[in-house]
């Protein structure tokens, strides 16, 4: 039952994704055609909010609700961030969705995006299968 809180957080996050319209294929086209500020505004505000929140957590040593200290693992660099990043970017513009929005798009009633999800799972699986052969 300890996971119910994440289900509830997910529900709120899903609602925000839809209301922010960041799950819209149209908004993604605008972003990459540089015809609207919307997506840049959303992502920029989110990053600034995240930075301030993390700084506050660190500065005031804020603990989790169960009293543990907050810890975040640093990201380590490998070439995957370049090659994988480019590959994901290609798919982002085509599908109009990154992984979070795929789930929200399905929820709003575009059930055919379930096919996109299955294909994304297949892509993840193929990456796992050939990981050792890829440059990292």
């Amino acid at each position: 039952m300890k996971n119910i809180k994440y289900l509830i957080a997910g529900i709120f996050f899903g609602i925000v994704l839809v209301k922010a319209q960041v799950i819209s294929w149209f908004r993604i086209q605008e972003m990459f055609q540089l015809t609207s500020f919307h997506m840049y505004g959303v992502i920029g505000t989110a990053v600034v909010t995240g930075i301030i929140s993390l700084q506050l957590i660190k500065r005031f040593n804020i603990k989790t609700i169960s009293g543990e200290p907050v810890s975040v693992k640093p990201k380590t660099f490998d070439k995957g961030q370049i090659f994988g990043g480019l590959i994901f970017g290609l798919g982002w513009a085509i599908t109009g969705a990154c992984p979070g929005p795929i789930f929200a798009q399905i929820g709003t009633g575009f059930t055919v995006v379930g096919v996109t999800l299955l294909s994304a799972i297949a892509g993840t699986w193929v990456y796992g299968a050939i990981q050792a052969k890829l440059p990292h």
Binding site: G41, G50, G107, W125, G128
Partner: protein
């Protein structure tokens, strides 16, 4: 009812961005969880089709919060899509509308164009490109990059991680390439 009407309008980017950004501290404070969604795809592989691949041999149940979170996103998408929309067309920049018209896209009644995102397209080239090929790139690319827009561009940048900045720049570069050099050709080919 005034409140419902208020919520049903499309939200301003600053409100949306603020709420998305707050997901970072909320997940940390709920239980030290790093915001990230593409990992859920890996957990699904590990749970359903591990196939003796070492990348999928780990205790995915320990990460099951992530699956609850994405299940919540589906539910939230349902609630917002069915009860929190005002029913108006989505407002899209005129220049983009002009360009999409050349692709044969004219319907702005929903968040996604039904000219692409409908079941009747599934077994066509359009379906193959937009659902199967596109989805594969998203799943493969995010795992290869070690994260997606949430894990790198929001969580990673919030934590001032430079590898996440590299990833984000590459996400954008790939998106620009697709939008300007691939998608126009796909539509020329379909129509």
């Amino acid at each position: 009812m005034q409140l419902l009407k208020f919520i049903q309008q499309p939200w301003h980017w600053s409100v949306s961005g603020l709420l998305i950004g707050l997901t970072v501290p909320v997940l940390l404070l709920l239980g030290n969880k790093a915001f990230g969604i593409s990992s859920s795809l890996r957990h699904i592989c590990a749970a359903c089709f591990p196939a003796n691949i070492s990348f999928f041999k780990y205790d995915w149940k320990k990460e099951s919060w992530n699956l609850f979170f994405v299940a919540g996103i589906v539910l939230g998408g349902f609630l917002a899509g069915h009860y929190l929309q005002d029913g108006n067309d989505i407002q899209v920049a005129a220049a983009t509308q002009e360009r999409l018209a050349t692709y044969g896209i004219h319907d702005y009644s929903a968040l996604l164009p039904p000219e692409i995102f409908s079941w009747s397209n599934l077994f066509t080239w359009k379906g193959l490109i937009f659902f199967v090929f596109g989805g594969f790139l998203v799943g493969f690319g995010t795992r290869y990059a070690g994260g997606c827009t949430s894990g790198h561009s929001i969580m990673g940048l919030s934590n001032l991680q430079w590898p996440s900045l590299v990833a984000t720049v590459c996400f954008m570069a790939g998106g620009f390439f697709s939008t300007h050099l691939l998608i126009p050709y796909f539509f020329k080919w379909f129509n």
